[in-house]
Point group: C2
């Protein structure tokens, strides 16, 4: 939710006395305040669990931290000053993961929904709402013939976008990771805010960003993502969805430029692999590909049977980024070696960080300025 | 999230064996399955809390139900067959409210975020996604001069809406309740799905639905909603926002018909009171007003100083609904008595139910067919 930006701050300041609106609707105040953010960036987490034996808090990018129980059964942990950013987190109470019920900020996820922490202090960061013109996020519900289901598609249009004008915009297709839903890039990745800011600063061209549900085979979520057959079906069907459903729908519904130089595809983790498989196999449709912490599989030869150095003439950008602390770093290095052996040009980007949204927000902010120039 | 419609079903079927996508991204499977919905509508809730002394599950519209612990520390409750619908719920573990971490379905809320249960079985219900043309939900981020903050506005456009055509659509302004955020009417109220279905069936006219953040004084969320000064400031400033920010923005950005016969305002609970105060004081702007379980205050004389029976000539619809089990039922009855004494015509609607979204979804489905005819 965008509202988390300001409502989070609002509720973090929750007064001790909060009464319900009406007798019929006794909306209980959060009994404790969590997370509480000090001016220096120290964050105090609290959770009431009076009979628990052990409680930890797991903050995105850090190992779980043990919390301390007070005499009322409230468990507390105060961190060192955290770098200003957004962080997902959850508690673990005697082995069970739970959200922070005192915090309305949420990270939607199909397997691992969690709470969202905002540590302010870096107002110039590209993911912070700034006083610039804002684009619009459109949520579409559509029937997928290939998926045999009803699913959603989020589309960002930039500030000033006018459906009745003759201006045509380039389109970035932006893909989420395994276990995310289609809202992830806006709800957690703040792609719309990042684009608002980059466009306002003249760093990125005004563009449409289409964010589809990225499961060609949705059963991958409840089965084994490492199962090669399901994994291949997932990406192969997603490729079909992209070419026969998603791209046509976007170009029919928006003022989208419909040439390959005006299309880019990028994604994170599972979506990074999809961006590579779709993009590098569809060079007549895309001129730029971005892979963020991509879940590239071994056996690149099989996934890219027609890829040769002739691709260099078509690829304006092939951007392959990974955090150096990411368990996928070696897999990405192997993939880069394979590309290099085939004499395919690409931009290798090693960043600090692990498999986190902090890395992917920065990836998006670094990648989009390269597009459509 | 719309995705909850189908992903909920997907994850409810979660296989026991679910491995992480990559070593770097160990996405743990939900250790238990909850909620599990039987074919007959019985729902089994489960939560692991091995050291807890008492655990209950609170389902929207029902009193909390005690759960039973098994020898592994998993607490379980199976309900009687529940009427097919969507229900918010949360657990209470030794006095602390927690979400269902095994369920990706969420009810966003600033004070009381909770989990969302879907009991299928009534596919013809207006809030169920049907195979009909779907409209689009647009999320805008804007700076409010009156609020002094950045906030969001959700706008539904009906199927076939074309920003470049000359067709103009009527607009329903639809307001959420206390502690909700601006996403509530789509994320929990399924207003977009309800309108899709009513429009497809010819029961409602194609219309735009604008769903703003409804706090004129956002501090009401963290202070005392019963504080009369803050409550009045909240609604008075919201009225200013409506007339000087929200209506102009909607009519500038959309193909909206800009006459009073083409504007309606409705809301639930706090938003129902706002719909009454804004609508009945702005009869030059609105021809229809709907109050769902409205949090009407005593002292109507003060809130409607200029309201006389001359309003009858302007008001096409004044629709005042409340569940008979709602604690606000008596307050609504008093308000109706006050209107009747002033000889102002209205449609009283008594429905079964308490202060719940089950009531409000039905209210919306009954109210919108009356509009713009």
């Amino acid at each position: 939710m965008y509202t988390s930006f300001f409502t989070l701050a609002m509720v973090l300041m929750a007064a001790a006395v909060l009464r319900a609106q009406a007798p019929a609707a006794p909306i209980a105040p959060p009994p404790i305040r969590s997370p509480e953010i000090a001016a220096d960036g120290r964050v105090t987490f609290r959770i009431a669990a009076k009979n628990a034996a052990a409680v930890t808090v797991g903050i995105e990018g850090s190992p779980p931290r043990p919390m301390q129980r007070d005499d009322k059964g409230v468990w507390t942990l105060t961190t060192e000053p955290l770098e200003p950013d957004f962080y997902g987190y959850s508690f673990n109470v005697d082995g069970s993961r739970v959200f922070d019920s005192a915090n309305p900020g949420l990270v939607p996820n199909l397997l691992n929904p969690r709470s969202l922490l905002h540590v302010p202090g870096n107002q110039s960061a590209p993911w912070e709402i700034q006083d610039v013109p804002h684009g619009t996020v459109h949520r579409h519900v559509y029937r997928s013939a290939i998926g045999g289901d009803t699913r959603d598609l989020f589309v960002y249009t930039p500030p000033g976008y006018d459906a009745s004008s003759s201006t045509r915009y380039p389109v970035l297709y932006l893909l989420h990771g395994f276990s995310d839903d289609a809202s992830a890039w806006t709800a957690v990745g703040f792609a719309n805010i990042i684009l608002d800011n980059l466009i306002a600063n003249g760093r990125a061209r005004p563009m449409i960003v289409a964010m589809p549900l990225g499961y060609g085979a949705p059963e991958i979520v409840r089965t084994a993502p490492r199962d090669e057959a399901i994994g291949n079906r997932n990406v192969d069907r997603f490729r079909d969805m992209m070419t026969s459903e998603i791209i046509p729908a976007v170009e029919r519904s928006y003022r989208a430029a419909a040439d390959r130089e005006s299309r880019a595809i990028a994604g994170l983790s599972m979506g990074g692999n999809e961006a590579l498989v779709v993009g590098l196999n569809e060079l007549d449709r895309f001129a730029a590909v971005g892979a963020f912490s991509s879940a590239v599989r071994a056996g690149a030869e099989e996934r890219f049977p027609h890829l040769t150095s002739s691709a260099n003439a078509k690829l304006r950008t092939l951007w392959i980024a990974c955090g150096t602390s990411d368990g996928l770093f070696e897999a990405n290095r192997r993939f880069r070696d394979w590309l290099a052996a085939k004499q395919i040009k690409f931009t290798p980007v090693d960043t600090p960080g692990a498999h986190t949204w902090m890395v992917w927000r920065r990836n998006l902010a670094a990648f989009t300025p390269l597009l459509f120039k």
